[in-house]
């Protein structure tokens, strides 16, 4: 509690997240996860776009960005960012790319050979 007359230390965002998505929570078909990569498509967005969507498009116009990074930069909960992303991608302003597959496990014997080689040379 703040004492009377004292100013609030900080205030929350003016536009609350539920207003940004107009009450929608996480999308049903969750096509985005934290490491899905997205970038802006060639299609020019209309001028009457929500400020959040516009800044999102501007954010990833320069190359591929992951969903987690976008959420971090926008300062919004990830679920909200996903709603915006799914809107934008269904309207064709965004291109998504599946995350890079995890690297194959390297053969242990190869690692052993490298280790042996290094030890033979420097050990």
């Amino acid at each position: 509690m703040t004492a009377p007359g004292e100013q609030e230390p900080q205030s929350a965002q003016l536009v609350r997240p539920y207003v940004i998505t107009n009450g929608r929570g996480l999308p049903e078909n969750d096509q985005f996860n934290l490491i899905t990569l997205v970038t802006a498509s060639e299609q020019r967005p209309p001028s009457q776009l929500d400020p959040e969507k516009r800044s999102l498009l501007e954010l990833c116009a320069g190359g591929y960005l992951s969903v987690a990074e976008i959420a971090g930069h926008m300062g919004l909960p990830i679920g909200i960012v996903k709603v915006l992303l799914s809107d934008l991608s269904s309207d064709g302003y965004l291109i998504t790319r599946a995350p890079a597959p995890p690297a194959q496990l390297v053969d242990v014997s190869l690692l052993q050979e490298v280790l042996d080689g290094l030890q033979a040379r420097f050990g």
């Binding site: 509690m1 703040t2 009377p4 100013q7 609030e8 900080q10 205030s11 929350a12 965002q13 003016l14 536009v15 609350r16 997240p17 539920y18 207003v19 940004i20 998505t21 107009n22 009450g23 929570g25 996480l26 934290l34 990569l37 970038t39 802006a40 060639e42 209309p46 001028s47 009457q48 400020p51 516009r54 800044s55 501007e58 954010l59 116009a61 320069g62 190359g63 591929y64 960005l65 992951s66 990074e69 959420a71 971090g72 930069h73 926008m74 300062g75 919004l76 909960p77 990830i78 679920g79 909200i80 960012v81 996903k82």
Partner: protein
């Protein structure tokens, strides 16, 4: 003559005359006194009559003041709690942003916003304090903020944007006034009918027009609304009626205090009420320079990575770095730097150091290795000397 002298009546007359004279004089005096007293009494009665009205008014005012100050401090507590809760909800939303819980958190957030708005409205009627410091915000964001403070906010559609912003002191009052108008609009129209908001630039400032498809207002209601909305008629807490109707009273107080005008006397094209809020020029300002990265960690880094980004998507960047206005009249944001995860070709080169810096780094390195060698003389297998 002597016969008269012997007549007792004569003596009685002689003795009686001064007495009578005295009595008459006394009587006159008494009457004069009485008259004066009567006049005084009359005057006092008149005074009392006059004072009565004043006294009642004064008692009324005193009661109003007492109610106001009690409510004001109660509302201040509630407002503080609502703000605190909002911050807590924000944090939880960020934490569980990916969880199914988010949906519930959004609903709790919505309820908390409504709760905060109610407390603010009552505080406004008690000459209280709105309780939040806001930065300059675009009219569109203020309208959206207002939209979020009412129950049926999903029915509200904002049809246009504006390239004007509100000065920081007007953000919260205008948002609250708009929220009260929207609350009226949603309460007095069918549950599924839309509420349209249009933002229009006019010579005197910016108009926010709220159209509902409700039942409209009759003449009596319009008069009451006009009276409450005009600055001349200040309603206290006690004059709100039963059940109390806050809306117009709150809007009227806010409009008078911050200098915008609200009218509800026209009909909307959908048959309901059209409310027009005119924001004068002195409450308006230009759009703040858009903040590209709300987190704003290291601006220098973003600047540095720009060439790589622009090499990647030359077309997109050349479009977005041009400041100015779009075809729709909206200000175009200038992108300060793209935050691409794709590294640029020459980004491996270390940042250049001055010779002093390199010298001091090398010196530190040398001192470090020396102290390391001398610190542990008995470390296994190593003899320092």
């Amino acid at each position: 003559m002597t016969q008269y002298l012997q007549d007792p009546a004569f003596w009685a007359l002689i003795a009686g005359t001064p007495l009578a004279a005295t009595a008459i004089v006394r009587g006159r005096k008494a009457r004069a006194n009485l008259r004066q007293e009567k006049a005084e009494l009359e005057k006092r009665a008149a005074d009392l009559d006059n004072n009565y009205a004043e006294a009642v008014q004064e008692a009324h005012n005193r009661a109003e003041e007492a109610t106001k100050s009690a409510l004001k401090s109660a509302m201040r507590t509630l407002q503080g709690l609502a703000n605190e809760q909002q911050l807590a909800i924000s944090k939880t939303q960020d934490k569980y942003g990916e969880h199914q819980l988010l949906q519930d958190l959004l609903e709790i957030d919505h309820m908390n916003s409504q709760f905060g708005r109610r407390a603010q409205s009552i505080a406004v009627l008690c000459d209280g304090w709105l309780g939040r410091q806001r930065a300059v915000a675009s009219v569109y964001d203020v309208v959206r903020s207002a939209k979020g403070r009412i129950r049926h906010y999903t029915r509200v559609e904002i049809r246009s944007q504006s390239n004007f912003a509100l000065v920081s002191r007007a953000v919260e009052p205008v948002a609250l006034a708009l929220a009260e108008l929207l609350d009226n609009a949603t309460s007095y129209s069918a549950p599924d009918s839309p509420i349209d908001i249009t933002i229009r630039t006019v010579p005197k400032g910016v108009c926010v027009i709220i159209d509902d498809a409700g039942v409209g207002m009759n003449e009596e209601e319009k008069n009451r609304a006009d009276k409450l909305l005009s600055a001349t008629h200040a309603t206290g807490v006690t004059g709100l009626g039963n059940p109390p109707q806050f809306g117009f009273a709150v809007i009227g107080v806010l409009a008078a205090r911050y200098g915008f005008t609200v009218s509800v006397d026209s009909a909307s094209p959908y048959g309901g009420v059209r409310a027009v809020v005119l924001l004068p020029e002195d409450l308006l300002t230009n759009m703040p320079e858009p903040e590209e990265q709300p987190t704003n960690h290291v601006p220098a880094e973003a600047e540095q990575s720009q060439p790589g980004g622009s090499a990647m998507t030359g077309a997109a960047v050349s479009g977005s770095t041009v400041s100015g206005a779009t075809a729709g009249g909206l200000p175009k944001r200038r992108r300060k730097g793209s935050i691409s995860i794709v590294p640029r070709a020459d980004s491996t080169s270390a940042p250049a150091r001055t010779s002093e810096e390199s010298a001091s780094i090398m010196g530190a390195f040398q001192r470090g290795t020396q102290s390391g060698r001398s610190a542990n003389p008995n470390r296994e297998g190593h003899d320092p000397q």
